[in-house]
């Protein structure tokens, strides 16, 4: 089988999961596309999963109430072994890339990380991935009975529901006790469209000037044009914005139709997270700012003057 560990949030499969389903369906290779749903009280998620996969395996237990890398790795590896999976697909989220290597070691399987393409030819699996801060695209391959892969979000068009619902099976899992205790959690919620799913993103950098300006200009423009809000690391580190909004090497990778950068210098670590956007727009008072090198459209000017004019003009 081609095993996919489903990612879900708020009782729904994530878009990244549907992307993995599409990746598995189109990769070639043998066996049914199988979604493994892990969690507690996940019947609704399992039903949704059955619309997309030929088989759904459901691990529903109190031990799976909260994500833990060792627990998730044990569950995924056990199912991959019992089902003789040729492919194990795991989301290229922070948590997915955290437990996937453990699965690979447990299965003694090669690990292809953060794949943006996937094809299976016999027992050889080939994938592409970005390296060198997303400046280089490498093609990597591995040959083995089982290959573990994490799939980069946003790289595949999400799968559509199938005509017939897949079969659901409950699975018995042997899980280790979680050794890491979570003693506090700060979750950053936004009422706007999720960054990785937004068609248009407005991002603010240090050049925006202050948290208040960020709200007025960046959020103001985003709300006017129905965009998601992003931030540079400089702004996140300064405490102006939550980490969930950070775009770049150590934040999110995004690929919207339009990426509008306000007061952002365009450091390589930032570019690595947004350089694949379809159109890039920069507003910066420094004509020499590196962001202009990657921009399709730019305005050399002060965000304090340009952005209010943009918000005004966008009303028309």
């Amino acid at each position: 089988m081609k095993l996919i560990v489903a990612e879900h949030a708020g009782g729904k499969l994530t878009k990244a999961t549907l992307e993995m389903v599409a990746a598995a369906q189109n990769a070639g290779g043998e066996g049914p596309v199988t979604l493994l749903v892990l969690g507690q009280n996940v019947a609704a998620v399992a039903n949704e999963a059955a619309q997309y996969a030929e088989q759904v395996l459901v691990g529903d237990s109190a031990a799976l109430a909260a994500y833990n890398p060792e627990v998730w790795a044990a569950a995924a590896a056990q199912i991959a072994q019992e089902g003789e999976a040729s492919l194990v697909l795991i989301g290229g989220s922070r948590s997915g890339r955290e437990y996937a290597p453990r699965v690979a070691v447990k299965l003694d399987a090669p690990y292809l990380e953060d794949a943006t393409s996937l094809s299976v030819n016999g027992s050889t699996v080939q994938a592409q991935r970005y390296t060198y801060l997303a400046r280089v695209t490498e093609t990597v391959e591995a040959s083995a009975p089982t290959v573990t892969v994490t799939v980069k979000p946003g790289s595949f068009a999400p799968a559509a529901p199938a005509a017939a619902a897949g079969e659901q099976y409950d699975v018995e899992l042997e899980l280790p006790a979680a050794r890491t205790q979570v003693t506090g959690r700060s979750v950053e919620k936004t009422s706007r469209v999720a960054l990785t799913e937004a068609d248009v993103i407005v991002t603010g950098g240090r050049g925006v000037g202050s948290p208040d300006n960020f709200a007025t200009y960046v959020e103001g423009l985003a709300d006017r044009i129905g965009a998601g809000v992003g931030a540079t690391r400089a702004v996140v580190d300064a405490g102006w914005r939550p980490y969930a909004e950070q775009v770049g090497q150590t934040g999110k990778t995004v690929q919207p139709k339009a990426y509008i950068a306000l007061g952002v210098s365009g450091a390589v670590q930032h570019l690595s997270g947004m350089g694949k956007s379809k159109f890039i727009v920069a507003i910066n008072k420094d004509a020499e700012a590196p962001i202009f090198k990657v921009a399709d459209y730019g305005i050399v000017g002060d965000v304090n003057q340009i952005v209010p004019a943009l918000i005004e003009a966008a009303k028309k």
């Binding site: 890398p69 060792e70 989220s93 948590s95 955290e98 437990y99 290597p101 453990r102 070691v105 447990k106 090669p110 690990y111 292809l112 990380e113 390296t131 060198y132 801060l133 997303a134 400046r135 280089v136 695209t137 490498e138 990597v140 391959e141 591995a142 050794r179 890491t180 205790q181 003693t183 959690r185 979750v187 950053e188 248009v200 044009i225 939550p242 980490y243 090497q249 150590t250 339009a258 390589v268 694949k276 379809k278 727009v281 507003i283 008072k285 202009f292 921009a295 399709d296 459209y297 730019g298 305005i299 000017g301 002060d302 003057q305 340009i306 209010p308 004019a309 943009l310 003009a313 966008a314």
Partner: protein, 253 residues
């Protein structure tokens, strides 16, 4: 506590990357110790300076000769000794973790610090793979770390925010920007570092075989239009930009 801190020598983030044939070519690139690994070296030193019971701090590199420079940097920053498993073979994370795990056991390490993401291969896998081989817990993307007795605690980034954690040692911790400000090696320490032990090991001893082949590499360039509007008249500039986004790019309604 014995700390193992992993380091690599990589192209500087600003360095231009070249591809020759089907592989990345580092000829002429400025090479530096991986920034993410530097946070690990610094954290090990700070744990000792902060009074944690640290018996030894060993820097470990696995890879080609250039990694010696990363080890020298770590020694000059203040680690006690270094181990270099020298090989020109490009090993994937699953293979590398075999070597790291064996060395961790031989060195009686109880804490392994690894950079959260490699500056060149962008991989985040080595820490987790090593933790699995050793049967240890792991904490990734850590930006705060404390050791008390046999327990580590701190804060790290997760998918949708951050978490405070506590976990038993031994453990693997991956490091990132924000954990600390790495020190610059001083001249006396650079001199002193020359006399510190840098052990060379052969890869053969560790039985690690590569499982992932790189079959091609390409530079991604995307032609950008670079249409820059002068913002002296903000209103005119704003209207022109909106017009381009609506009618040329067709990305706004």
């Amino acid at each position: 506590m014995n700390i193992l801190t992993l380091v690599r020598q990589v192209p500087d983030a600003e360095a231009r990357v070249k591809v020759s044939g089907s592989a990345v070519d580092l000829e002429g690139a400025t090479l530096v110790i991986d920034g993410m690994d530097e946070y690990g070296v610094e954290e090990a030193l700070r744990l000792r300076e902060g009074g944690a019971n640290v018996e030894s701090i060993t820097a470990l590199a696995i890879g080609p000769k250039r990694n010696e420079d990363a080890l020298r940097t770590a020694l000059a920053m203040g680690v006690d000794r270094a181990i270099h498993v020298e090989t020109d073979e490009k090993l994937d994370a699953v293979a590398l973790s075999r070597v790291v795990a064996q060395i961790a056991q031989a060195e009686n390490a109880t804490l392994i610090l690894v950079g959260g993401q490699e500056a060149d291969w962008d991989s985040q896998a080595l820490g987790a793979a090593t933790a699995e081989r050793l049967g240890w817990p792991q904490l990734t993307w850590t930006n705060e770390l404390k050791v008390e007795g046999d327990t580590i605690s701190g804060r790290h980034d997760v998918d949708d925010g951050n978490e405070s954690f506590s976990a038993p040692l031994p453990a693997v911790v991956t490091t990132q920007q924000g954990l600390n400000e790495p020190r610059y090696p001083t001249l006396p320490n650079i001199m002193k570092a020359k006399r510190k032990e840098l052990r060379k090991d052969s890869l053969d001893t560790y039985g690690a075989a590569n499982t992932v082949r790189v079959v091609n590499a390409e530079i991604q360039t995307r032609a950008r239009m670079n249409r820059v509007i002068d913002g002296k008249d903000p209103q005119a500039a704003a209207e022109q930009l909106l017009d381009l986004l609506r009618n040329e790019a067709k990305v706004l309604a």
